[in-house]
Symmetry: C2
Subunit: 691 residues, 2 copies
Amino acid sequence: MLDALFKPKAVAVVGASQKEFNMGNKIIMNLVEFGFKGHIYPINPNVDEVRGVKAYKSILDVPTDVDVVHLPIPAVSVPQVIEECGQKNVKFVILNGGGFAEIGPAGKAIEDECLAKAKKYGIRLFGPNCQGIINASPEVRAYCNFTFTRPEPGVVSIIALSGGVAELLHQTLYRMGVGTRMYASNGNARDVSIPEIIEYFGNDEGCHVIVLYIEGIRDPKKFLAVSQEVVKKKPIVVMQAGRSKAGADAAATHTGALVRKDITSDLIFEKAGILTFPDEESLCQAAGVFTNQPIPKGNRVGVITNAAGPMVIASDFLSNGGLQIPQLSKKSEAILRETLHKEVTVRNPIDVLATGTPEHFRTALDVLMEDDTIDSIFISLATPFFVDNVNVARQIAEVNQKKTKPIVVALQTDRTVFAEPVRILKEGGVSCFDFPSSASKALITLTRYGEVLKRKTGKIKHFRDIEKAKVEGIVNAAKKAGQKMLSAADAYTVLNAYGIPVADWEIASSAEEAKKAAKKIGFPVTIKADFESAAHKSDMGGVALNLKDGKAVREAVKKMARTFKSTDLKFLVQKFLHGGKELIVGSKTEEVGKLVMCGMGGISAEVLEDVVFRLSPVADIEVKQMLSSLKTAPILKGIRGEKGVDEKKLIEVIQRVSQLVNDIPAIQEMDLNPIIAFEDRLFAVDVRICL
Amino acid sequence: MLDALFKPKAVAVVGASQKEFNMGNKIIMNLVEFGFKGHIYPINPNVDEVRGVKAYKSILDVPTDVDVVHLPIPAVSVPQVIEECGQKNVKFVILNGGGFAEIGPAGKAIEDECLAKAKKYGIRLFGPNCQGIINASPEVRAYCNFTFTRPEPGVVSIIALSGGVAELLHQTLYRMGVGTRMYASNGNARDVSIPEIIEYFGNDEGCHVIVLYIEGIRDPKKFLAVSQEVVKKKPIVVMQAGRSKAGADAAATHTGALVRKDITSDLIFEKAGILTFPDEESLCQAAGVFTNQPIPKGNRVGVITNAAGPMVIASDFLSNGGLQIPQLSKKSEAILRETLHKEVTVRNPIDVLATGTPEHFRTALDVLMEDDTIDSIFISLATPFFVDNVNVARQIAEVNQKKTKPIVVALQTDRTVFAEPVRILKEGGVSCFDFPSSASKALITLTRYGEVLKRKTGKIKHFRDIEKAKVEGIVNAAKKAGQKMLSAADAYTVLNAYGIPVADWEIASSAEEAKKAAKKIGFPVTIKADFESAAHKSDMGGVALNLKDGKAVREAVKKMARTFKSTDLKFLVQKFLHGGKELIVGSKTEEVGKLVMCGMGGISAEVLEDVVFRLSPVADIEVKQMLSSLKTAPILKGIRGEKGVDEKKLIEVIQRVSQLVNDIPAIQEMDLNPIIAFEDRLFAVDVRICL
């Protein structure tokens, strides 16, 4: 519970001095100037007061209980002061200074000591190497931070390890006129974690949207679990940096952040329903639009404009963002035809022309609010000199009060010349943006969140026709034997045990056995050398395809025996399948859990990287989304008279793989590559299972 | 020559009234208030003055010559007034009103009449359905426009057909503090065209950068020719909208703009060296950075920051934009190690820490200016309370005066609290941006233009071992016969005539002839049915592959003869090639000229759309760029022990195709699909040539 941190009744600042460039001095200043509702205690043995507030020689001298203590002091002095905070029964310590894990082993040792001491007394650490927190709500007004943006109370809460970026986001929201609820920048985040703060902000009714900046996810399981719940109540918008090699290098050295490959983060965001943004500005604009607009029921937008070019730009952005600009109802069209200028071609987008009057705007707005084919409204508003812009603004502000459908406005004006309409729109809580593109993006964001709220999670199918114990036995035996990869026989047995169809196979130890097996399976067959570390067997001549008779089988086996002189050499004899499409299905273990993957095989997967990952376990709906998001999806469906693949069976195989890797955590990685898929069946013809 | 338009000595406004919401009144107001250096003549028979300027009853009554006449009057009245303007020897008429081609045939007829009358008198038309022009240079100050953004004289010139977008760009630049040179928004652009204006702005020494918004290119050949020359002197930055279906629909109806497929525009931008931007904001920011920063010699950036997170963001953007953040020289590192805080890990990016002093910034700046491994400087500047930010700003402004390497600053501050450092940076001409991402993009833009200026255009190889006359003969005969597609025999003959290697082939009329031909060519062979409109022959059973003997050839021919009962049915007998990689090379005719295309064949081209187009003729360098920009490029080079294709021969084939389609303009479209390519040779095995 972080109440004592975000709603402190008393805050002390150790090392606050009277010097202008002292960090502690600035924290006292922020607390005082922002009007903190609790007690403020500068701690400094050498002065009587700081910024007019009585100072104490030691934390132990403070007359009341203390919730939060800032320690903007050299790292080496911190452990001793934590000791004193413990005696004082302090609840949270904010370690504003640097010199901890981010500078290397020596700093790490101090950080460890701080954590140990804190644990001893039940103190929670915030930071180290961090800015602190803000709670701008009028009943608290805790500016526990040394930054300089004076918050306006609002409904957006900000979270970022990086102080620089947290402050940047805060400034940007401030400049946009968007108020702040709470703010947390916890640097190295050694104790109080991002998921913990997300959860807290999730439960804070005064917070309507959470803005998050990250450079990697430390505790992905908790992050996912917490976020999934919070997103049901309020949107979380995120930007992740450190994605490029240069960015990751820069991130690694600044707060010792553990940068995980960003694909994992994206999968978590996707699964949790967190909305992602590519840059700081679009992130803040997304947060802003959630503060005053309702969530649309669908993706159908009605567009009103008084200039054509900006509407062309908006149409591009809206439709690229998945929004529809549908035809209006006959009734709507009739009303518009009666009201608008005669030159207007009545349709959606509605171009009221540069000479469009307040009445024209109002009619168009009313029509769109009424029309059932429309879920949201986009207005491109220029302010021509020769129009009554004040009244146009009034109409928009008035309709905006209804809050039944979101309205965004691309307001193209000179804000000094047209100050009055700008004021009316602002005070009316209308979401205004400088550009058709940015207004479009904001509407897309609202629509995406509406889709998150509505989305079906599907069912995680739990297959019962499986032999889990058998697979556990195989895997345990292999682990005991020190194998890092299952033998072909074991791997195919595992697939059989989980109902994953494989091409008929037998294991043979000699050419004669292989011939016999081939006859049983039926020609043509493939022979694969099978021994530990046979990963790249095909490059080394360990695979012979399409063998049509016993002679060919014998020759292939003999040749492999000469090439691979391994004592444990065996031969996998497998039905060779003509035709069909090559697919790849696999799984990989990451800190967050098991990922499943699918795609077309061959160059689609390996060169063009047209594969898709999801976090397992995957529901049926998710598997369908995986398949349809492939660029090669049309091939799976069948194009140009060619037959597609058996999608139902493919979905089942992916779900079975998902269940297998979750049932058997020891499986670190597996690949079915390729699966040969036909219109009505499919078979794995090669498999690799790593432990 | 557009001098009389952009530097008029006298401007008249027909229909200017004393009414507030009258468009002509606003134009007079703009001319007066902006301080036009020439004569202003309101034309209105009913009033004595407008905005304090003496009015005349007719343009014929005006006492001086008139360069420009505005006609913000109903379309139907325009032709008559043009007649009068002709008598007065007016040079340019700006048709501000609507009601012309954009509303349909009736308006188009008026537009035609206007153009005819103008031509009769040698008057040039600007518009119709347009805003007008601005020339903000102090010696002219012509605000011939009804918009409301008061220009600050500067070096950026703006061009857009769409008045709404032109004004939006102008406002944005104004808000950014970037001044305007000239401005042209010409609506339907019936006479004075975009390329004409680009050329004029290109020759205007006071213009340092041209900002362009388009929804399609009308006269692509002239556009390309003009832009290529202008780009050598100054950057052109462009945004194109109307790219999506919704956007194109919206564009089509607003100024009757002819929207061409945007791929063609992108090829023109690429060929001309015009820099493209995805949205209005990045477009304007690009323009801004060219006004006060030099062009870097290369892509190596030195980064200075006093907050780590913003540096992580910048590193992502910079490296995704193709910039390098290289190691500094030993000398630079030594200087930094001596000067900066002890805790700083000296490297690039240089993190001077939040407590970094003015001296630290200055040292880092001097080091980067001196270091030969660095071409440009990126600064991420937060303004912590506890630092002498005024002096930091001074150091940056001072170094910025050198203008030897570009400097961009991501300034993260509260512009009211830190007004003084902001003022210093602004007055020092430092390029400041609100976000690390936007500052990064601006630096990427500067670097891209540097690359445009340096880029080699390569040589257009002109092959002499070709038989142009022979191909002209074939094509003319086919055209005479009304063929839309060449027969296989003709098509292969054309390829032979242009030295494009094809698999050995013969034409046969019967099964016996086919057998004989197959023997001559050598088995295995492919047989293809050849008759007019055999485009989808393979779907219909018109192709038989890999025929190994005479019997198979005879059977294939007989079967085809039964299937295709065409009287002109012939059979192409062709060498069947085993192995090799399937490529596709082709050409398509667009208004701008001939495009050439290449890629891997099969699903890479057809489903994954991994093909690349260029405007022909293509130089060797361009062809190499085409090949290396393919996602499948590694396959062409050879991956995983597999051999690649003969790149030299492939480049030659593409150049030969380029020459062929340029030599023979009647070839509308051609496809070599597939070309079978081996390590040391390649052959077209199917060809389609459309006339």
